[in-house]
């Protein structure tokens, strides 16, 4: 698949937005660990903002950043959401309620428990009546999302937003599913280049080889957060040099990406 990358949104520990993070990823500014700062979901009307779980806030924040930097309207674009789980806080709350004596769920909690909760709030927030989808491939969710967004971009010849995000679970689920920190990334992809295009991506499935981020701190994120498996691609983009990187997918399958910054 040949695609063009047109904008990036990024939120992770010590990574506050693409502009600041690109300097860190390029090695021009030192990486300083800090909790992930998730801005309020200003895209949503106030009553929806209160009901929106953290997952939604993270997804909306990176999506909004990417569209703002490309000066594009989200309402015109299809969106693919990829996450290794749903909203952990919501799911834990439902599980705890169902285990209690009074098995009465909150209707809002219930509709927030679906995997496509971020996709739903995104379309309401942006007014996008375009297709929105939501998918999971456990640790390989980012690559799963990239394949789906790429295939959509090729089929429709329009801009497609890929928004991948993960947040840690609360206990006890955290003890059986470790996610290092909250991390979200948005990529705007298209089949044809535009004046905004940042890079050309040539993508193909390949046998896995061991590939690591250049910086140990970033490698730590990549290993511990499924959505952070995007980092090799973003490092290449930030450095501004053509590079062949590999993104982890399954144990027996990976994604080779040739990144040509434009």
């Amino acid at each position: 698949m040949k695609l063009f990358l047109n904008a990036v949104g990024l939120r992770g520990p010590g990574l506050d937005g693409w502009e600041a993070s690109a300097l860190i990823l390029a090695g021009k500014v030192p990486y300083l660990a800090a909790p992930t700062a998730i801005p309020p979901a200003t895209l949503l009307p106030p009553n929806e903002r209160r009901r929106a779980p953290q997952t939604v806030r993270l997804a909306l924040a990176v999506g909004a950043e990417a569209f703002a930097s490309a000066r594009l309207a989200p309402a015109d674009c299809a969106a693919v959401f990829a996450s290794s789980g749903g909203d952990g806080e919501t799911i834990h709350d439902i599980l705890a309620t169902l285990a209690g004596p009074l098995r009465e769920l909150s209707p809002t909690r219930f509709h927030n428990s679906v995997h496509n909760v971020a996709a739903g709030y995104w379309s309401i927030a942006t007014g996008a009546k375009t297709p929105a989808t939501s998918l999971c491939a456990h640790d390989g969710s980012f690559v799963g999302g990239l394949l789906e967004a790429g295939a959509q971009a090729l089929a429709a010849e329009g801009m497609v937003a890929l928004i991948a995000y993960d947040l840690p679970y609360p206990e006890p689920l955290a003890s059986v599913r470790h996610i290092g920190a909250a991390f979200g990334v948005a990529l705007l992809l298209s089949a044809v280049s535009s004046t905004q295009s940042l890079a050309r991506l040539e993508i193909e499935l390949c046998a896995p080889d061991s590939y690591a981020c250049t910086r140990p701190e970033l490698e730590d994120l990549r290993r511990n957060i499924p959505a952070a498996r995007v980092l090799p691609l973003l490092e290449a983009l930030a450095r501004g040099e053509e590079a062949a990187v590999e993104l982890d997918y399954f144990d027996d399958l990976a994604l080779a990406v040739r990144v040509t910054p434009l």
Binding site: A75, N116, A137, L147, L154
Partner: protein, 392 residues
Amino acid sequence: MKPLLISGLSLVSALGDGLEATRLALHKGHSALAPCGFEKLPINAWAGEVHGLDTALPSAFSTFDCRNNRLAERALVADGFEQEVARAIAKYGAHRVGLFTGTSTSGILTTERAYQAGALPDGFAYAETHNTYALGRFLRARLGLTGPGFTLSTACAATAKLFAVAARMMAAGLCDAAVIGGADSFCGTTLFGFHALGVMAAGPCRPFDEARTGISIGEAAGFALLERAPETPAPEALLLLGTGESSDAYHMSSPDPEGNGAATAMRQALADAGLAPEAIDYINLHGTATLVGDAAEDKAVSGLFGPGTPRSSAKGFTGHTLGAAGMVGAAVAALAIRHGFLPGSPHTNRLDAGFAPGHLLTGRPAEIHHVMCNAFGFGGVNCSFILGSAAP
């Protein structure tokens, strides 16, 4: 789109295992709904339970053992589906067969029971049971597939969207064939969740009835194998002809009452198939029997097709099988085309006076070439797809 050949198809629901059991029930108008014995709910909810899910998965797959994966396993055996996959692997190679699954519940029932027991047990298999991808992970191991894949989870439109996913993935050259489908099974989250929303019926669901009060939940699993169609497919071949997707951008759990998003998805599916509305012989409706949902869909369908095109929902037969509803729709469409009949809608006694006369309350024979299937879900997600026969 270029039509794709549906070379394998299976369904397990409360109607029985396999397409033949499904056909018999549809023909006779036999509903599988019964009072829900799975969980004690505050109302007399009815449900479409798949029985006999007490047997654990074979020991080689024991880490995947949970109700949802057991149900998926049943649908691999039904209709010789796993043999069709083996044939596709031999033809294309295991790495060239994509695996795109869909579910809304995954195996969360296992986690619910662990919370109720007070703690997650040692060795709790999160990735193999609870995680949304647990279904895809199980099937990848079980079928020996090594190609691309993921589990799509857009609530009640999850498996319907997979028809569009498979078409795009094959067009992009990422695979030569695709196994699509999934399973949705009972759990407290959905049973108590839909009750909390106030959209669960007491008694059986009555799609498009003037007295409808909400849904009955059902369980189902189903799969389809998609390949590129030959230049001149055999007349009996079943084809995927078009898909359409949209978002309501209206509300998380309530559909746009005007049905605009639903109409967009149906229009796009027609355009994708290169068909006019008149070419559709039957519409398998989403029709979950909620007050607002049925009204919105009737409006959207009648606006696009007029009042007369025959239409019905399968929910009165199987219950609302949530993420698996797309596979129930595909199976009903395939049977209607192959066996020449229009299914009715058990439990729908008196059509809402405001609705179009095209709604079928009882089944009847008819020659059918093209069927539109609808599936809509939380988050305002809409999907329509069209199946057709290759016969002229």
